[in-house]
């Protein structure tokens, strides 16, 4: 009996994944702060479990690398990942970190919310709004940005909580 084995299907599969990754990087390269790169599904799944899956272009690669290197102590919580997942997400963040002029600067504590561009963009939001129970934290983008969970931050979709 002759058998035909799938000797190369794993390589073919990983080739396909690599191609998808490259396509995502190409899209990210075209990003100038307005439109945003599609999110790596693994990133969305893992990081998005606890908070909005922040678009990678909102922090420079150096900040992402520090965060990825210390997930056991991630802003007061243990967000550790298995080594394979960590490698995949780190590589994607390194390739898609923000390079636009306002994002290049590494913010204090690697917090998006302490970036000069973030503070400037939100300077019309009253202090009381940030403290509303429905907002609770500046990390809760989706409280006002309707498309935040899908990576959309167009100003036309902003509904400031009251």
């Amino acid at each position: 009996m002759r058998t035909h084995t799938c000797f190369n299907w794993q390589q073919a599969l990983f080739g396909l994944i690599a191609t998808i990754g490259l396509a995502q990087q190409a899209l990210a390269g075209a990003n100038k702060g307005g439109s945003l790169a599609p999110l790596l599904p693994r990133y969305q799944q893992e990081c998005g479990a606890c908070h909005v899956a922040y678009p990678p272009g909102m922090l420079p690669a150096a900040s992402w690398q520090r965060l990825a290197g210390n997930l056991q102590g991630h802003y007061g919580t243990d967000a550790s990942l298995d080594p394979a997942t960590l490698r995949q997400i780190s590589a994607w963040l390194a390739a898609n970190g923000g390079t636009y002029k306002r994002v290049r600067e590494e913010p204090p504590e690697d917090r998006i919310t302490r970036s000069a561009w973030f503070i400037h963009k939100h300077d019309e939001v009253p202090a009381v709004t940030w403290k509303l129970p429905a907002v609770n934290s500046a990390a809760n983008c989706a409280a006002c940005h309707a498309g935040a969970e899908q990576g959309g931050f167009n100003e036309r979709n902003v509904r400031i909580s009251r």
């Binding site: 073919a12 599969l13 550790s80």
Partner: protein, 138 residues
């Protein structure tokens, strides 16, 4: 390419398509009952739902209890104490996806026990917690 090669290729592509998501997510399908049996066997003792509830709702030397984010009776969605993000109900009766992936269960026990108790949970504690969650009705 002869017909056999083509049909082999087609089968291989189908196999890769089916295996793809599994390979990526390393899903280890399980049932809550199987996971509970595993923890109990490692612990070498019978689980106690009452001890599980006690562990879940009290603090263990740190700021947060499990209930801080998951709610005291987690048959409904909870809310992340720092980010406000919704967390699906933990009780399998309310959320059939819970405790069906061994790797995911280990990941979250590792992280959350560290956040709540500053250490990993013991197999006996995991068995107690799961026994209580499995006893909850929506």
């Amino acid at each position: 390419m002869n017909r056999t090669t083509v049909s082999t290729l087609a089968r291989c592509l189908a196999a890769a398509a089916l295996a793809g998501p599994g390979l990526l997510q390393q899903a280890q399908a399980a049932t809550p009952a199987e996971l509970l049996a595993g923890f109990s066997s490692q612990a070498g003792s019978a689980p106690s739902a009452a001890r599980g509830q006690q562990f879940f709702t009290t603090t263990h030397g740190k700021e947060w209890a499990c209930a801080t984010c998951h709610g005291a009776v987690p048959v409904q969605a909870g809310k992340h104490a720092a980010t406000g993000k919704a967390i699906g109900a933990m009780a399998p009766a309310s959320n059939p996806d819970r405790f069906t992936d061994a790797a995911k269960v280990e990941k979250w026990f590792r992280r959350n026990c560290n956040d709540v108790a500053g250490r990993e949970c013991t197999p006996a504690e995991k068995a107690d917690l799961l026994a209580w969650l499995m006893a909850l009705k929506p």
